[in-house]
């Protein structure tokens, strides 16, 4: 009897020792993990993370275009030039845009709301439903993207998107960035600066550029992330929530 209890005591001590070792090791382990995250990703993305965004429309300022310009530079959209002889109005409508500034006016009250609109990274994306080749897809971490290696440029996804988030590249692009490949005949849209995320960064270009702090970006599945905390603290809406797409981009003060 005494030997059994002794055994139990010994086990307890062993476990306690093991636990202490883990604790002692913990700072080293955490440091290691952080270092690994700063490096380019070597393991597949998982659904343990879902990237999302919260946009506070009360902080979004009319006339400010910082996030749009930052997106254009980050993703090389400013390198896409108007095709020779193209109509100005047509170009304005058709040039690629991943993020747009939208001004809404309530005609009854006259209240004006400013917001930015981009791919909403739906959980149930209509663009993925309609894609005939599987080029439009949702990554495990919730980012909706176009695999332009298999995109045939049919533009069904552009028709299906309720947010008008996608753009089509109509002409050859002379200069491209390494981080943002781009070619004639493919559809593209906001990808939450996926090259940044895959290289260990945790912010998007638009968020970094917004001096009004109207954009909060982060992991919706992590309760301690800034975006989750903000969503918990303030009432937010999904645009066209009647479609039940469970968007990854939410808005407050609309």
């Amino acid at each position: 009897m005494s030997s059994t209890s002794d055994q139990g005591r010994r086990d307890f001590l062993k476990k306690a020792a093991a636990a202490t070792t883990t604790v002692t090791l913990a700072p080293g382990v955490v440091l290691h993990t952080l270092q690994a995250q700063a490096e380019p990703r070597t393991t597949p993305v998982t659904d343990k993370v879902r990237w999302g965004m919260l946009i506070d429309t009360s902080k979004c300022v009319e006339g400010c275009n910082d996030c749009v310009e930052a997106c254009d530079q980050e993703n090389g959209l400013d390198l896409v030039n108007k095709p020779e002889g193209a109509d100005d109005a047509l170009w304005e409508r058709q040039r690629p845009q991943w993020i747009r500034h939208v001004k809404l006016k309530d005609n009854m009250t006259g209240r004006i709301t400013n917001l930015v609109m981009m791919c909403q990274h739906c959980e149930f994306p209509p663009c993925v439903d309609v894609c005939p080749t599987g080029a439009s897809f949702k990554r495990a971490d919730g980012i909706v993207m176009v695999d332009r290696h298999i995109c045939i440029g049919c533009r069904y996804c552009m028709m299906a998107c309720p947010y008008k988030a996608r753009s089509f590249i109509h002409a050859d692009v002379a200069e491209k960035l390494t981080r943002a490949p781009r070619g004639k005949g493919c559809v593209e849209s906001c990808n939450f600066c996926v090259h940044r995320l895959d290289n260990g960064q945790t912010t998007t270009a638009c968020q970094d550029a917004c001096k009004h702090q109207a954009i909060v970006f982060g992991d919706l599945k992590d309760p301690d992330s800034p975006v989750s905390k903000a969503l918990k603290a303030y009432p937010s809406v999904q645009i066209r929530d009647d479609l039940k797409l469970n968007t990854g981009v939410r808005y407050t003060n609309i």
Binding site: R139, D147, K176, L177, T178, P181, G183, H195
Partner: protein
């Protein structure tokens, strides 16, 4: 070790020789200015690369786009980064330009490739 060092020295010597001659005008790649020129082998042994480089990058593109894996040794950005030469003024020359690394072989083998319809042809930002 000494062998490697002597190769490096030789490479520097050769490249300085070419710089000294000043034969290459702007826009034309200068011999020995690509990172690859200073290395003894690619990410795989040369015969393997010659036969299978397209398989490597085609497989890698799916892993990168769909799974977000970027820290791999088989990447097109890696090819460009290592094989792009510089012109006399130090500007990188597109790898698919006439006489450059990708073009030389593909021209000879008469194999068209579409990588650079979308991808950057010069080493770029991260």
């Amino acid at each position: 070790m000494t062998g490697k060092r002597s190769i490096t020295l030789l490479a520097i010597l050769v490249s300085s020789l070419f710089f000294g001659l000043g034969t290459a005008h702007a826009g034309e790649g200068v011999e020995g200015t690509a990172k690859a020129d200073k290395l003894t082998s690619c990410v795989e042994p040369t015969p393997v690369m010659r036969r299978r480089h397209f398989e490597f990058i085609e497989h890698q593109r799916d892993l990168t786009v769909h799974q977000g894996i970027r820290g791999s040794k088989h990447s097109l950005a890696g090819c460009v980064d290592c094989h792009a030469r510089r012109d006399a003024s130090g500007k990188p020359v597109p790898v698919n330009a006439e006489g450059e690394f990708c073009n030389t072989c593909h021209e000879y083998a008469a194999v068209e490739f579409d990588c650079f319809m979308c991808h950057s042809t010069v080493p770029g930002e991260k």
